[in-house]
């Protein structure tokens, strides 16, 4: 496994009591908000099943719907560009910026742009990107990656944020959230008015009408997509919905599962660039594959493309809750991240993530899209093991265990020896130096071996 690896990073994370407390507090709050919002709706289960079917249908005809989206968008005056890889997506957007002479970009929150490392590409091309979502803004100031797909700085306390703002903006220290928000708001206001490029993602794209849908609470996405003269939308090809009417189901499903809101503060429906008074002169939509069509080809993995990025699985995950997002070394952490990162962020570099789960099943239970996350994790474990990328000690232990299961007399002998050794003084010191047994004994006592079937 990789040097960095989940084990190393999570080990540091779990020993950080401040981080643990912040994660516990905020994920717990998200879980409670989701639970009460979904309990309000007696037909929540029916909504989940229905949404799952709509996405299943969409994925089987994704090529048709994408072409329909393209023609509707172009009819509305937008332009569609296709990107096979992360590098292509960044290059396409840098090219658009160059063509229009854009130098200052305001960005609303987009995990897809994190996925393709867009900010770095823009900077290299001399375009300054400013993150305008409050959490992303702070993450950018701290030169950190978001650690949660919805709450990018879930790992920070407000004191952390206060110190950061004081240092970076050269202002007096405050830890009052309202005051910090006011300060960020006034600096960002200047960025909105001076920007010549707006970059956003999209939560949904409606094939029927060519409408791009952005869900947010801060109003920064609306400003980013309407003030600058050029607007670029970067979205994965899985964001499609066939009909406009599907939003009636998907919007409440998303906001209730994400933040427990009946509806977010802002929902922007964008169909084409400026018609008369407001809006950008140019609208570009970059449709990104970057591993998604590989997922599409596999009926089990395809279901991860149904994800609406609500983060319900992340908030409920007992592993994420203790390790935080940075341990995953991916833009997408938690259960859904462990499933999609190997496809989107690199097969070999992220092959360990599917093992970083207890398979407790809490994620699948809460997923509004009913994505079978544990089954997908298991399938990815098999794929990683096939390619020789699982823990070598584990592979050897399993082969030995299977051999002993098939040879019961030898098994009896081995177990008898193990029982004898276990009774010797100092045996626990010996066991704690062995692979796997050592890991077990790190904080758990080894239970004493019994003789199966012995009369007691």
């Amino acid at each position: 496994m990789a040097e960095r690896g989940f084990r190393k990073q999570s080990t540091t994370a779990v020993s950080d009591s401040g981080l643990r407390a912040a994660l516990d507090h905020f994920t717990g709050a998200f879980v409670r908000m989701r639970e009460s919002a979904q309990d309000e709706l007696p037909n929540w289960e029916e909504m989940r099943r229905c949404a799952h079917r709509i996405k299943a249908h969409t994925m089987t005809r994704l090529d048709d719907y994408l072409l329909q989206l393209e023609s509707k968008l172009e009819a509305a005056g937008g332009q569609v560009l296709w990107a096979r890889t992360a590098e292509e997506a960044s290059a396409v957007i840098v090219d658009i910026a160059g063509r229009h002479g854009c130098k200052r970009a305001v960005k609303s929150k987009s995990m897809t742009s994190e996925e393709v490392h867009l900010n770095e590409a823009l900077q290299r091309a001399g375009v300054t990107p400013v993150e305008t979502d409050l959490g992303e803004y702070v993450a950018q100031l701290a030169q950190e990656r978001p650690s949660h797909i919805l709450a990018p700085i879930i790992h920070k306390t407000r004191q952390d944020v206060g110190r950061l703002l004081a240092e970076k903006l050269k202002i007096p220290y405050t830890e009052e959230v309202e005051e910090m928000t006011r300060i960020a708001r006034s600096t960002l206001r200047r960025d909105f008015f001076s920007a010549d490029l707006g970059i956003s993602g999209a939560n949904f794209a409606v094939a029927e009408t060519g409408t791009l849908v952005i869900v947010e609470n801060e109003g920064n996405a609306r400003l980013s997509t309407s003030l600058p003269r050029v607007h670029v939308v970067l979205m994965g090809i899985e964001k499609l919905l066939p009909r406009f009417a599907d939003l009636g189901l998907f919007l409440p499903l998303l906001t209730r599962a994400a933040t427990g809101q009946k509806m977010s503060s802002y929902v922007s429906l964008i169909t084409g660039p400026r018609q008369q008074d407001d809006g950008p002169d140019h609208l570009y939509v970059v449709l990104l594959d970057n591993g998604r069509s590989q997922m599409l080809a596999d009926p089990l993995m395809r279901q991860a493309l149904y994800c609406i990025r609500c983060s319900a699985c992340i908030n409920i995950c007992p592993v994420y809750k203790r390790t935080g997002g940075h341990s995953y070394d991916s833009v997408y952490p938690g259960p859904i991240g462990s499933v999609i990162s190997p496809f989107l962020m690199g097969r070999d570099s992220h092959s360990e993530l599917p093992f970083a789960s207890t398979l407790c099943g809490a994620c699948a239970e809460v997923c509004p899209m009913r994505i079978p996350l544990p089954e997908q994790l298991l399938s990815l474990r098999r794929q990683a093991a096939d390619r020789g990328r699982s823990n070598p000690h584990l592979g050897r232990a399993l082969r030995m265990w299977s051999f002993l299961q098939r040879h019961p007399r030898l098994r009896g002998l081995v177990l008898a020896m193990a029982r004898t050794v276990q009774r010797l003084p100092g045996s626990s010191a010996l066991f704690s130096r062995l692979p796997l047994l050592g890991e077990w004994s790190s904080f758990r006592s080894l239970p004493s071996l019994s003789r199966p079937g012995a009369k007691r």
Binding site: R7, F355, A356, L359, L378, W401, R406, P452, G453
Partner: protein
């Protein structure tokens, strides 16, 4: 009714009393009980490690166990029951499926069998003390058994059930996870133990040997003698006389 009790490998090797207790409870209810596959395994570890070859080899062996004409297979583990009910089929050759298909509808987890098949909630158990219940993940979410263990525990004379904060959150065992990521596993066990201690229970009751080894192992390594960690079957087998008083 004739019941074949599959102890599971963890119980056979580390906590045989769980199988003895499950057997005692079933006998007390008037059923014939035989053991099947003592010391053998259902293949779950290989399944969860992503090793289909070993999962198939071991699962196939399990299927070859003699049932002694039993009507049902009863297992004191939600995790192993889920393996046999939902997952083993993926590791077998087509000609081996028939045996599994024939068996599958007759395989039950212990508490599920008592409440749903035998329709018994009061098994005549008594045990004095304050117990907290931890819901094991696979029993709860793979099998969807939420209330059966609680229904059984509520009828145990002398037992006072006390709520456990986050009773349905994973204890951090997770099979191979427990040895691949011991640091995170430890953090999860520590939180479980903290909630357990806050509940002021003197026993933690659960239904899977994996969780039992995890939580008990962590408590003992820290030299905590209390609370005790018990499998549901161990509580249901209890007939302490003083509890009747």
């Amino acid at each position: 009714m004739r019941i074949a009790l599959f102890p599971t490998c963890l119980v056979s090797h580390f906590r045989p009393r769980v199988a003895d207790c499950a057997e005692a409870v079933l006998r007390r209810l008037g059923h014939q009980v035989t053991r099947m596959g003592e010391g053998s395994c259902c293949g779950q570890p290989a399944h969860s490690a992503g090793s289909p070859a070993e999962a198939g080899q071991v699962g196939r062996l399990w299927l070859g166990n003699d049932l002694n004409d039993a009507d049902y297979v009863v297992i004191p583990s939600g995790s192993c029951t889920a393996m046999l009910r939902h997952h083993l089929q993926h590791y077998l050759a087509p000609q081996e499926q028939q045996r599994l298909d024939e068996l599958r509808p007759r395989i039950y987890e212990f508490s599920e069998f008592l409440v749903d098949v035998l329709e018994v909630e009061d098994v005549g158990a008594s045990r004095r003390g304050r117990g907290a219940y931890h819901a094991s993940c696979h029993l709860l979410r793979d099998l969807g058994v939420r209330s059966a263990p609680l229904k059984l525990l509520q009828r145990v004379k002398g037992l006072e059930l006390t709520p456990l904060e986050k009773y349905d959150e994973c204890c951090g065992f997770g099979g191979v996870f427990s040895v691949l990521y011991p640091e995170v596993s430890e953090a999860m066990a520590a939180d479980k133990i903290r909630n357990l201690q806050a509940s002021r229970a003197d026993m933690l009751i659960l239904s899977d040997a994996g969780c039992l080894l995890q939580i008990e192992g962590a408590l003992r390594k820290a030299h905590s003698k209390r609370p005790s960690v018990l499998h549901l079957a161990e509580v249901l087998a209890g007939r302490s006389e003083e509890a009747h008083g």
